[in-house]
Symmetry: C2
Subunit: 252 residues, 2 copies
DNA sequence: TCAAAAGTGTTGGAAGTACACCCATGT
DNA sequence: ACATGGGTGTACTTCCAACACTTTTGA
């Protein structure tokens, strides 16, 4: 970074791939994402990832957060940087470099999205032709989501603070698109120390009442190494619970 | 990316963390990296990662490659994007966003670096106070290198085209900083299908001549998912062998 | 009492770890 | 012959996948 890089003519933007679980045509939960319709050239009327320019006074992540709120009114429970896309030909006219984030939101949160003419949910596996290189970006984000689901603990970012093991398993199954053995899944989760029973059970179901679990604090959800502090999961926001230090931006 | 982001005042730069194996004070191989001395403010005279502005006509990776060649005359065998750093306060004066890459080079290549007053190798584990947030960046790059070494096949990027199993194990041991069982290491490598014997052996050693291996083609070294084509390892450059399509930039 | 989901137990195989042991070479 | 690293064999453990089986509820 020696020279005071003028970089005139390069536009710096932030985009986000937002994932939520919603029922598909068959009624089973699967991965969806919201897209916005472009209202100007290039790619007028094509669907695209929500995004926008980086403000001078904002960090990249703060930019992504603000933009998400403005364009989709979503506040993700999980937000992580995905990749920087900067090929010269990704936009036909000017030169764009996009720092792309990916986010997870809960179903309740997802349903709050204002479904106007210009924002719509799409199943992540059957997208139309998107603007720019956004098809590739989504594909990569999906790959990261699925890869990370297998070795990390991000699944609960799709759920509320309390959940049953069947719900948690449902998240895994929806993302990985394969059935999981309930018995083995239970043992893996329990032995990992990631979850702990709340003591409550869900009453009123048609069958044996399942125990409720919560994520055990103190356990990192997604090991990002020295950048761990950057990966922030919003504290479960009960109306009564004050939010504890939501975004500590210090480096370690 | 809807608005034509002016982003005036934000400087876009590319930096690279370059790793090579060199003998440390005790004579054992360990991880080193070259740094350049800053010749202007801010952080005048402090050591920093090599880097520079992104040219309008270059992709991010091409920018990193060119800059590496200009500042250190290095051509890495492995180059991958690490992270985009863009906190508002990382540079005291202007606003910098740095797309950081990490690279691996072979020892022979590393020794060719012009060791002037302004370029010097440092042991990766004992760095001075660097310019900007470069200490954090190196720490993260080291974490990625060590993590990836355990589940991927990047080790041979530190070696030539042919190598013995002891050499390959030495790379792992140097990076992971722990001894590995030669017998088990051999079996893991052989059963993974990543390497194949060339049929030759190393003669002239003091002991039993070890077999030489090469990396089996067709096996991906580092699974980057849909972005695989972006991770490019230079073909082993025999003087006689023409370089085959060194940088295919297409997306998949 | 039956269906269905919650939860437990048991088994077999794959892969990792530790370590004993043989092989081939230069000195 | 012997020291040394190259290379093989083997027992032990740990983890994971499969699946039989018991428990608890609503209907």
């Amino acid at each position: 970074m020696p020279a005071a890089a003028a970089a005139a003519g390069i536009c710096l933007a932030v985009s986000t791939v937002i994932f939520a679980l919603r029922p598909n045509a068959a009624g089973e939960p699967s991965v969806w994402l919201p897209l916005v319709r472009r209202i100007r050239e290039p790619f007028l009327d094509r669907w695209a990832l929500p995004g926008g320019p980086v403000a001078l006074s904002e960090s990249l992540e703060a930019s992504a957060r603000r933009n998400l709120l403005e364009t989709t009114s979503l506040q993700p429970t999980y937000l992580e940087q995905l990749y920087a896309f900067g090929d010269v030909d990704r936009s036909p006219d000017s030169r764009f470099v996009s720092i792309v984030y990916w986010a997870l939101v809960r179903p309740e949160e997802a349903e709050r999205v204002s479904l106007g003419e210009n924002v719509r949910w799409f199943p992540a596996d059957e997208l139309p032709d998107l603007a720019f290189d956004h098809n590739l970006i989504v594909e990569y984000a999906l790959w990261r989501l699925r890869t990370k689901m297998e070795y990390s603990r991000i699944a609960h970012a799709f759920l509320g603070e309390q959940f049953t093991l069947a719900e948690l398993r449902g998240v895994h199954e929806a993302v990985l698109r394969k059935p999981l053995d309930p018995a083995n899944f239970r043992r893996q989760m329990e032995s990992s120390g990631a979850i702990e029973p709340t003591g409550d059970v869900v009453v009123g179901g048609r069958h044996r009442p399942p125990k409720l679990y919560r994520y055990a604090g103190g356990v990192e959800l997604a090991d990002a190494g020295p950048l761990t502090a950057r990966v922030v999961v919003a504290a479960a926001q009960h109306p009564s619970t004050p939010i504890a230090a939501p975004t500590q931006e210090d480096h370690r």
